[in-house]
Structures are given as structure tokens and as C-alpha cells.
Assembly symmetry: D2
Homo-oligomer: 409 residues x 4
């Protein structure tokens, strides 16, 4: 007789292979709700800055689950009690943790769904899938919501050192080719432990944690908040805003049914039911890019101009400063644009605008990282670090930007 339990694997350029642990996970991956993530880019418009950054939320979800399996192996080896049911719950929870992301999440969260974060929508997807899979996701939901008694299970899904971050930093660094963001996820995982029900890092892992926080900060300033990426995102936000305005005026505008629905209706947590979830599940990058491509030919000058800019990468100029942009500078560019294109002040605001970006590498107040000393005491990593002033990393850094057309100077 031949041994026939089949090993289901996905190829992954980063980990080599990702093994699917069981049939439930296999079926979840096969569901259209999850397959949709194949059409949602993990890094939104960043590929306009880093041409390799076309990886998807689908792949990231698989990668996070892979790291979760590694973490489970390590913790169980160290004697942490984790049942098979909890294990399956954890794998489902991490697999589905980002399923609620819409296309270009960061840019679109106020255009598409009002005051509803992607975690909330992820949860709605989990509930819907739980119906379909006869309650087998109840444990995953309980862990995901932080209601399950073993706190460290939730912390593996959602905390400063969760498997989500350990995968996305590594993955984004890999695909962008920004080697400085490459973290040693595997080493960090070998140093995890559980004390008093909470996830901690063993003392010898302290330099790795610091390195992780530094890499995260590096990726923020170098990649996620890259000034060219900001222009792209702001253009997208303004495109959707303008399109809504035009729709509001009753003009015809071409786009997919799913996109139209969310542009015409005001959706909030309160009215986000299964019907809306199913429309949401039809929406992905293709809808948004398709609309923008076709809007390049729209009659409205502002809409077509903005779309042309985004599609052809004819970006606005952007300046990044450590202090707020002077109002005179802003006015100067606004006047020039108004004059050049004969625009009202509110119309000019589509092409000249300013804003603020901020980032904090380590948030010790909301979610801290605990180091387990050899004397068995716990200590916050910012205190444990001998030299690096991690308190500095806890400060919020703020930068200011202004965007305006290149030829307006």
C-alpha cells in the first residue's frame, strides 16, 4: 500500500514552501472570498516607486500562516500548552486576519466605507465563513476578537510582534528590494515564549527586537511613507472624491457595479450586512484601476487630468519638510495653478495640497514588547535595551508635505 496523504504546498520565493496544514484551511483558501485577495496588491500603489512590489494580500496571508506554524512548533517544543483545536483556530485567524482589506485600503478607507476599519470587515467575513463551514471558525473568531482566555494566542495574531508584521515586513522588503527592511523572522520566532499567559521574548532576543523595530522604522520612512508614494495615494483619494462629486451631480460615470455601489451609498458599521459584504467581496484593484483608466477620457478636466497623472506616472512635485508648510508657499502654488488652468480655489485644491505624515516605531503605551530576563523577570524592551535609546523610537515623528504641479513654479 502506498502512503497517500498528500502534502499541499504553495511555492514561496521567501520561505521556499508553504505547507497547508489541513483540509479546512485548504477549503478556506479556495473560497472566492479568499481568492479575491489574489487581486488586491499588498502595497497598493507602491509599485510606482518600487517596481517589484506587486505581491498580493493572498500571498501575505499564506506567509503569515506559515510563520504561525513555525511559532506553534517553537512554543510547543518549549512546553507551552496548546491544543489541536487552538492550533487550527490560530491558523484560521491569521489566514483571515486581513481578508477585510479593500483595494488600496489606505487611500480608500474614507472613500469606500465610512468609519469602518478592515478588521471589522475581516470579522464579518469570518462570521460569514463560519456559517458556511459549520462553526469550525468559532475558535478563530474568539482568538481574533481577543476574547479567548489564553491571551498569547491573540497576541500571535495581533500585537507588536505578531505573525502579520513578521511576514509583511520581510515580504515587503523582499519584493521592493529594500534590503534594510529584511528582518530575521525565524530568529525572532525561536525566541518567543509565554509567561503568565502573555507572549514574551527571551533575553537573548533583545538585539533582534531592536533590529526589528529599526527595520520597521526604516520601511516606514523609506517605503510606506515614501514621498512619491504619498503623491500617488493622494491622487487616488482625490480621483475618488472628484468622481463622487460628479456622480452626485447626476453625471454619467463609467465603473464596475461594485465600485458604483460603494460610491453611491454611505456604508457604515451599522448597515454593513451580509448583502453588503457580498458586494464588497466583488471589489478589488481591478475595479479601481479600470475606472481610473476609463476616466482619463472623462469630460471633467479635473477628473481626467488626475487620472492621466496616476496612470502615466506624471506626478505632482512633492516636498517633504520637518516643519509645517508656510501658507505663503501654499498660496503661491495655488495662484499659479488657478491662473494656468483657470480654476476656482476649491478646484485648484485638487492639484495643490499639503498634509502631514507621522510614524512611531515603537508604541510602548498601547502594546509593548516584554523581554524575559534570565532572572525570570519581565521588563519592557525600551528599558531592557542597554544602549539604544528606544524611548526615542517611541516618539511620534511628524513630517509635512506639499504637492503641486511641476510646471507651476
Amino acid at each position: 500500500m502506498i502512503n497517500s496523504r498528500k502534502l499541499k504546498i504553495f511555492n514561496d520565493p521567501i520561505y521556499g514552501f508553504i505547507t497547508i496544514p489541513n483540509g479546512l484551511i485548504f477549503d478556506l483558501i479556495g473560497h472566492p472570498y479568499f481568492q479575491r485577495l489574489r487581486r488586491i496588491s499588498q502595497m497598493g500603489l507602491s509599485y510606482l516607486v518600487y517596481p517589484g512590489a506587486h505581491h498580493t494580500r493572498f500571498h501575505h496571508a499564506l506567509g503569515s500562516m506559515h510563520l504561525m506554524q513555525k511559532a506553534l512548533q517553537v512554543l510547543k517544543y518549549k512546553g507551552v500548552d496548546i491544543t489541536e483545536e487552538e492550533e487550527e483556530g490560530l491558523c484560521c485567524a491569521i489566514l483571515l486576519h486581513d481578508i477585510g482589506h479593500g483595494p488600496f485600503s489606505h487611500a480608500m478607507e474614507h472613500s469606500i466605507v465610512e468609519s469602518t476599519d478592515h478588521e471589522y470587515i475581516s470579522l464579518q467575513f469570518m462570521h460569514a465563513l463560519n456559517e458556511i463551514f459549520d462553526g469550525r471558525l468559532s475558535m478563530a473568531i474568539s482568538i481574533f476578537k481577543g476574547q479567548y482566555e489564553k491571551r498569547f494566542l491573540n497576541q500571535l495574531v495581533s500585537s507588536q510582534l505578531d505573525m502579520d508584521r513578521l511576514d509583511y515586513l520581510k515580504r515587503d522588503s523582499f519584493y521592493t528590494g529594500v534590503a534594510e527592511g529584511n528582518i530575521n523572522s525565524e530568529r525572532l520566532i525561536t525566541m518567543l515564549n509565554v509567561v503568565g499567559g502573555n507572549l514574551v521574548v527571551e533575553e537573548k532576543g533583545i538585539y533582534s527586537v531592536e533590529k526589528f523595530l529599526m527595520a520597521r522604522r526604516f520601511m516606514y520612512w523609506q517605503v510606506y511613507l515614501h514621498k512619491t508614494g504619498i503623491v500617488a495615494e493622494q491622487l487616488l483619494i482625490r480621483i475618488l472624491k472628484r468622481a463622487k462629486e460628479i456622480m452626485g451631480e447626476g453625471q454619467v460615470i463609467v465603473c464596475s457595479d461594485a465600485l458604483r455601489f460603494f460610491m453611491e451609498h454611505r456604508i457604515e458599521k451599522e448597515n454593513f450586512d451580509l448583502k453588503i459584504l457580498n458586494i464588497f467581496s466583488k471589489l478589488d484593484d481591478v475595479d479601481v484601476l479600470g475606472a481610473i483608466k476609463s476616466w482619463q477620457d472623462h469630460d471633467d478636466f479635473i477628473l481626467s487630468k488626475l487620472c492621466e497623472m496616476l496612470i502615466n506616472r506624471w506626478f505632482l512635485k512633492v516636498k517633504l519638510k520637518n516643519s509645517p508648510i508656510a501658507d505663503t508657499v501654499f498660496q503661491k502654488h495655488t495662484s499659479r495653478v488657478r491662473e494656468k488652468y483657470t480654476l476656482t480655489e476649491s478646484e485648484a485644491a485638487y492639484f495643490v495640497f499639503k498634509g502631514v505624515i507621522e510614524n512611531r516605531a515603537y508604541d510602548r503605551h498601547h502594546q509593548n514588547i516584554n523581554i524575559l530576563r534570565k532572572n525570570k523577570k519581565l521588563i519592557d524592551v525600551a528599558k531592557a535595551s542597554d544602549q539604544l535609546n528606544l524611548k526615542a523610537l517611541s516618539k511620534t515623528v511628524t513630517k509635512y508635505y506639499i504637492c503641486y504641479p511641476k510646471d507651476s513654479v
Copy 2:
């Protein structure tokens, strides 16, 4: 005074950095014709098999140009005479060699543009760009067409060991995570030389050439001709065929203007003018995926069913055989599908079909690889190889497949 000539670089996960050699190249990359390649996936639907395979033709074109710069360095070091003008021409030619690819080329070449290969369209793009850039692409065009006197320049762009292949094999291997296809492009390049005006490989490179041919064959069978990828591609072909039929019957069908144009008109080499080139330049993966997504809800059973299958990865079952599929088998599946869905024979053919795939790793008759022996004589690699029967690699291998719905058995 500060030294201010700026180094323009692109991040690349494979080579680290890709440097832009001069302003002309920089401007070509910035042109909408070239930016469009950002929206055309290098490997079409292969991401449905290898979830990492989302890299674009844009990135591949940059990568090929990077390797070309390396090859130029090596050849010039060895004393091969190459002028600056030729160098620029080569870099332009390799950058633009694939600009004529449409979305999902392999699947769509008969649906979109009749009997017009992508090389021909690339050439039309080059001519159009040559107008825009005041004739600075004339050398590139001459090299690309194989009309320039130094034959090895064309061979660097288009031959069994051209920079195109050296990049795409490495890149596709990298992004799919199929390590076996990883070739040592850099080593192969250091072993290039020119003899009698032709590109040759020095003798010590023989094992690397063999390795390259093996890797190429590996990628064909494991990746490019992967049976699941074949189903996906065949579904796409049938979707476009069905959509054309429906259009032909005068029914309404939603899609982008550019896609509609090519579905409604029969375009051939003869009528491929600048106006058509400009419509073609609007067409990319977004148009095709957007159409398929919306056609899921079309009234036509066949069209909507095929689209649903492709979007949700509910694929047909596929069997790959070394001998032709028996007609009885084909008939059995056809009958079952006809019965199940109440279809005519020609309708059933959308769901049950068979076909042939073939591949030859090394084509010594059309384009051979010459090895430069230490005694200064040239010899074909298939003869130079001491052990491996490269003649075997020259044989065409044929496989036969049949596809049918999973539940039809």
C-alpha cells in the same frame, strides 16, 4: 562645487539596483507607452499556480537592460569594438524589445490581433518613439531588425543566449520560487565573446550553457506549461471567443473601449497603423480582468460560467498524457457535460476540450549556440558537450491534454 550628476536607480530584488545609463533611456521609461508595461504581468495567469508570479513586463525590460550593460562591460573589456552610439542603441533595443506585448499575450494573440506577433508591434512602437525622440532610436531599430552590420549586437537582443532570456528565466524563477530555474546570468555573461562578428561562449562556459538549457527546459515543463496554467489560459481563450460570438450576435457586452475595439475589428499587420497602435497602447491586464469580472453576471450561461471559473479558480480538471487522448474518453466527457447542462455539442466544447503542448529546449537548426574552443575553433554546443546528449534536448517533446468539469465524471 558639488558633484551633481545624479545616479538614477531602480530597486530590483534580483540585481539589487538597476542603473539608468542616460537621459534618453530615462525619458523612454517615462513615456506612457512604456509605463503601460507596469500593468502587464510577465507571466500572464501563472500567478494562479505560483502566487508570487506578479512581476511585470516593465520590470523585466529594466532587468534585461541591466544585463545588457553588464554584457557590454565584459565585451569591451575583452577588446570587442563597440561605439557609444551602438551601446545606446543596444540599451534602447533591449529595453523596448517586448513593448509590443499585449495583455496575456499567449492566450490572446489570436483573439486580439490576427497573425501579428508582438515583435512586429514592438517595432511599430519603436518607430513611433523614434519620431518623438527625433531619430535617436534609428540605431536601436536597425539592431532590432537584424539589419545592422555587427551581427552580435542583434544576437545580444535576440538569440538563444540573449539578455531577454537571461533575465526572464532568472526573474520568473525568482518570483515563482521555483529555484531549479535559477540561472547564473552573470557567469554566462562573463563568458561571452565575439568571433567573426558572432556572439560565442568561451569553452569553460560549456557547463553553464548546458545548465542554462536544462533550467530553461525545467521552467517550461514545471512552470510555463504547468497543466493548471494551461487550463487557465484555455479558459481565457474561450471566454474571449464566446464574448466575440455574443457581440457578433449584436448583444450588449460591457468592457473597456480599447478591448471592445480589438474584439470588434479584425486587425492584421497590413492595417496596424499609428491610430491602432495608440488604441493598443491603452490595453492592458486591467481591461481583460475587468471585463471577465463583470461578465460573471452576464446572461449567457457559457460566458458567465467560464468567467466565474477563472475568477474563482474553479478550474476544469486536466489530464496530461504522453499519447493522444482517446476519442472515446473525449466523447464520454462531452456527453456528460451536454446532459448535465443541456448543451449542444459546440457549446459543450467550451467545457470539454483537448490539445497538444510541445517544447524543445535547444533548437540547433534555427539558432545555435557556438562554443569557442581553446584552439580558437567554433563548435556547436550540442557537439562540444562531452557527456550530456544535448541532441536529446533538441528533440521536440509533445504532450497531450484533456480538460473537463470535475463533476462530469
Copy 3:
């Protein structure tokens, strides 16, 4: 309470981490017999050709054990019955499979120990360690000797696809920087299975097996049998031969006690007892290199000259041919050397010599690789391969070399 079972890990540039599965393995690694492998280079003198090739047999043994753990995971997942005792035995067997290697094995096997291969000495070490560890190595010994009933356990340690090869090809490729030899060990392992008690490869692994055989062949010709490496090895053989001659004449010669012992005594399988094992365990690269360094100043012209050549990399010229070296050529070089240095014919033979190297990538008669077809039948890989003439790889390839001083021409 804190979970305190400690994870013992070694850093490995290739796999990231190597985890030590249990206390017995940890103690075996700590034993001086095994620590000695830290002072034995895996690739002998190859670092004179590939400057990165300084990795040791110590690291290779750990790497092989790491792969064994992966293979065990895969096979158990697929339902192959393997007990915990067998698992420990396998890990011990692979860890110790090469412990009998002396310094520069290939060069020295006839100088140090007559007609005693390293497998035999490995077995002696295992027996000695079995005494020390109270019989816990009995299972490992039984597997290693091929006496254990489950044949596939031995095949994991010693066959065409054993964990030894899967590690050393990958490791040697990594450290030499010869990327073409890089095999996808992990993928091959996921495709292993057991049928009828024998290790087999599942059908979809066929291209990987071919790639592995090609990589192996590549490494042989490009690295292991590199002509400069051959000169180095032949110099070493002649140095030891000359030193023995000089000793035989009663002259003083400086070297370590352990090295002296093996140069003065004729050791064979029959007299290889524990006392000799312990002397052997003192012998490593340091003894040999130390001797050669000091012999550079020996009075004997031949010995000092050969040692100088090896230490300073003043190598003999080497020519590699597909047909035997003509006697006239050999005589010509011999005469010149005799004349130049006033040497007898037998003395000249230290500087002018010829030889034969041969390699066969796949030996289907002694140890074949079985492919498990989807129809559950087994077939030899050379037959299963659709295109590549693997029979060609089964042929022995022979090359001929001649070495002579550069200035003798």
C-alpha cells in the same frame, strides 16, 4: 512557572538555523571525536581555487542532520511508519556518517590508511561512541550498516538521494559561489515517499531529480575535478610520498606525533583498533598543513620544492584532454625538468606526471532512483525522463591530464 525546555540551535548561513533534536545528539556533537570535524575542511584544498570554500565537515554533518529532520517530517506526514527510536537512530547515523574522514581525505587515503575507507572508520567511531553512550547508538549502527529491516532508513543515509548528498551539493555550491550547483534540497525532500520499504520520488519530482543529477555533474567537472584542484591534490599526494621516503631513509622530519604515526605504520582494516582510532582522532588539517609549512625548509630539494609550491600556490601547469596524453609529450617535459634541476627519472616524476579522472553522474546499476508514477508503478528515473537522455548521464566520462612545471616548456 516558565516554560524552560531550551531550544539548542546552531546558526547556519544556508538553512538559517539548525535545531538540535535532543540531549543525546547534543552530547555527541560535544564529544572530541566530533569536535575534531571542525578542523577538517569539507572540500580539502579546493579553497585554493574557490576562496570561499573553507566550510568544514562539522558544519556539513549538522546540515545533513537538519535535512534528515525535514525528511522525517515529510515522510511521517505522508503516513510512513517511523518510531521515535528509529528517528533518533537516523539522526545519529547521518550526524556521524562522515566522522571517519581524515584530513584531505581524497588525497590522503592511500598515504594515511591503506585500503580502509572512511565509512569503515566512521563505523569504528560509532562503535566507540556506542560504548561511551551506553548502547544508545545501536539503532544508528544497524541503520548505517544497512542491516536494519526498514531499508528506506539506510537509503536516507546512503543512496543517490541521501541527506548527505542533498546537503553537500548545496553547501559546496553555496560556499564556492558556484550557483549552478545549487539544488533545491527542500523541494526534493517534499517529494520523497516510501513504497515497498524503499525510498522513492513521486512523479512530479522527476524534473527536480534530473536537475539534481545535472547539478551534481556540474559540480564534479567545475569544482571537484577542477584542474587546478587536481594539481593541488596531486602535489599533496607527492609531498606525503616523498616525506615517507625520506623517513624511510632514517632522516629527521618534523611533524606532529599523530601524523608521524600514520606515516610510519602500515594501517589496514585488520589492525585498526581503538588505540589507533584514538590516534586517528588527533589528526586533522592542522597536522598536515603544519608539516608542509615546515617542510618548505627541509634539505631535500624535492620535498621543499613541492611544499613551497603548495603553500604559495606556485602550481604546476595542467592540461586536460579528452584523449590520453601522448608519451612523447610526457617525455619532452620530463627531459626538460631533469635537465633543468638535474634529477633522475624517478625524481622528475614528482614534477611531471599524468593521470586520469572520471565521473559518472548517475549510476543506475548500483543505486538507482525510483520514480513513483501516478499509476502507483515504480520506474527508474532514466526511463521515466521524457526527454533528457539520462542514459547519457549514466556513462562514465573520462579525461586525461598532464602536469609539468610552467617554466619547463
Copy 4:
């Protein structure tokens, strides 16, 4: 005619290939002075902690030269004026910058050569080679000594961001498998520029510089100052001290002539002439390891015991603390050891000892890193960094250790 200028390349696992720029460099590499670096490990005894760390100073020197070539390309592209003669000088200077290292430098600098740093000895080697190569190293020497007018040339060889550091951090990280130390040397190099004759980093490189400083600090604490490495190094220091004592008492002690010379003579800068340089050039890791291996059997209990410990990795226990070791603790261990082995206090000091280690990641007072802002002003990196308190990295961190036999507690 065939183009025949040969490309001399070395394989390198890190950069792929290292190209030798010209015949002089090729000949320098071939000289026995330089070939000796093949027998000197870059990281001394660190392989006892990180089993992959067997790379040599030979390979590091080649790697540094490779990066220098990259830096020259970048700077010349940006318009920095560098003559061909300066280029050759720079390549020679970086190639030879470490040639004065003896075996296990850090451990042996007080045992072998008194108050003579390796830079001084490197310079003596350069002078000797300059004689041999007819003055072609004069420029290299002038740059190396910091006497050449263009200061940035010296800074490329010796400063906080020199090619030496950019290679060794990357290389040591690679071979140890400690991924956190992996720096993006290539990216840093693309951001170099020259202002006012000094090497600076362009503003957008600021995060990379921070990352580099963090990686350096990481490598110090995790690798270079790893507590097990400290024990090994301290054992080596004590072994040589004890051997000298024994020699001083007139006892016979076996070792190579070169090692004996430096143990018997007090060598200082003043008497370091060509004769001594030549003896020094015979000394490498083999001499030291060979001596220690043979001293395991010496009659002296202390010497043989220490040697056994080092060879078999039977290390002393080591504790690392943030505050000085209490004298009572030290006394307790000393008494136990004295009692157990019947030793005098000064003899016990060979087995029980304490010490201090310190490190500062960034030394802004001696050698700072200047950032070139977009407004063309220079600013110290510690000030330019918006968030990370690099001043913290400028602080010296001190740790205290104590070592004692495991069984003495």
C-alpha cells in the same frame, strides 16, 4: 582575430564574482605575502560559536577591493575627479590594508608583537612589496598613510564608512548566518559623494547609515563580543602566556620556528625590520593551532589543561554583567579552583578571571559621518537623524565578565 584580454575573476558567494582590475593587482595577489592571508581566519576563534565563520582575510581583502571598484564607478559617474593612477593606488591600498594581521590578531597582539598594531605591519609589507614592484605602490602607500592630498581617497580605505567595514560587516554576517548584521553595502556606496575633498553621504542615505550603525552594533554584541567567543579568546591569550613562562624557564616546548621566534623575542616597532617581516610572513593560524594541539600533551598541568579546553571546546563558564563583578564572587571561584586542582593563586588565575568589554557604535569625535543635505550643507549624521537618538549610539557601553570552570561552583 580573437579578442583575448582575459577577465580574471574570483568566485565570491556574496558578490557573485570579483574581477581583478589589472596585472599589478593580479601579481600582488599571487605573492606569498598575500597568499598567506588564505591561512588567516577573518574572525579568529568565532567559528567555535558560529560554525560557518571560517572565511579568511584573503577573501575579505578581495571583497573590499571589489567594493572599492564599485565606489570608484559611482564617484566618477557623479563627476568626482579621480585619475587612473589614483584608482590603481586605491585598489592596491584597500587590497593590502589588512595584510599585516597576524593569526588571531585580537588575542595575540600582546603575545606576538608588542605595541605594534597591524596597520603598522601592513605598511611594512607595502614598503617591501613596493621594492619588489618597482615603486608602483608609492601612490597606495601615500593614500594609506593619509598623506595624499585628496583626503577622500584615504577615507575610502579608512574611515567609519570605508570599504573595509562595508565588506567585513556584510561578510561576517553572511558566514555566521547572523542575518541582522547584513548591510546593504551597494546602496550605501551609491549614496557616497565628495564635498570639499571629503567623503560624504547624500541625504537620502541617512536611514541606510543609521541601519549600518545599528547592524555594526548588533554584530559587536551578538558576534564579535559574544561571551563564548570571549572565553575562547581569553583561553588563547592564557595559553600563549603560559607557554612563554615555560619557555622562559628553559623547558622544551614544541612549536613552529616562526612562532618560537616571536615567543622568544620582544619585537617592537623600532626593531621590526625586513628580516622580522619575513619571519612574520611565515606565521599563520596553522602555527598557533598546531602548537596548541601538541601542547595538549605537555607535562605542565596548566598549559595542557588550557589547550585541551580550547581544542575540545570544553569551555569555562562565563557570566556577563552590566556592573563590575563582586570581589567575593571572584574569590569564591578562585578558592574552589585552588582547592580542586591544588594551585597557587597565580596559577588559579589561569582558570578564574574577570574582565571588561566595551563598544561604541558610532564615534563622532574621532571620525564622524557627514550627511550632505539637499541645501548643500553638511551635517553630522547624529544630528541629521530625525528620530533615532544616535547620540546614544555614541556612548561607550561597558560590560563585565567573569570566567571559571563549570564544575567549580
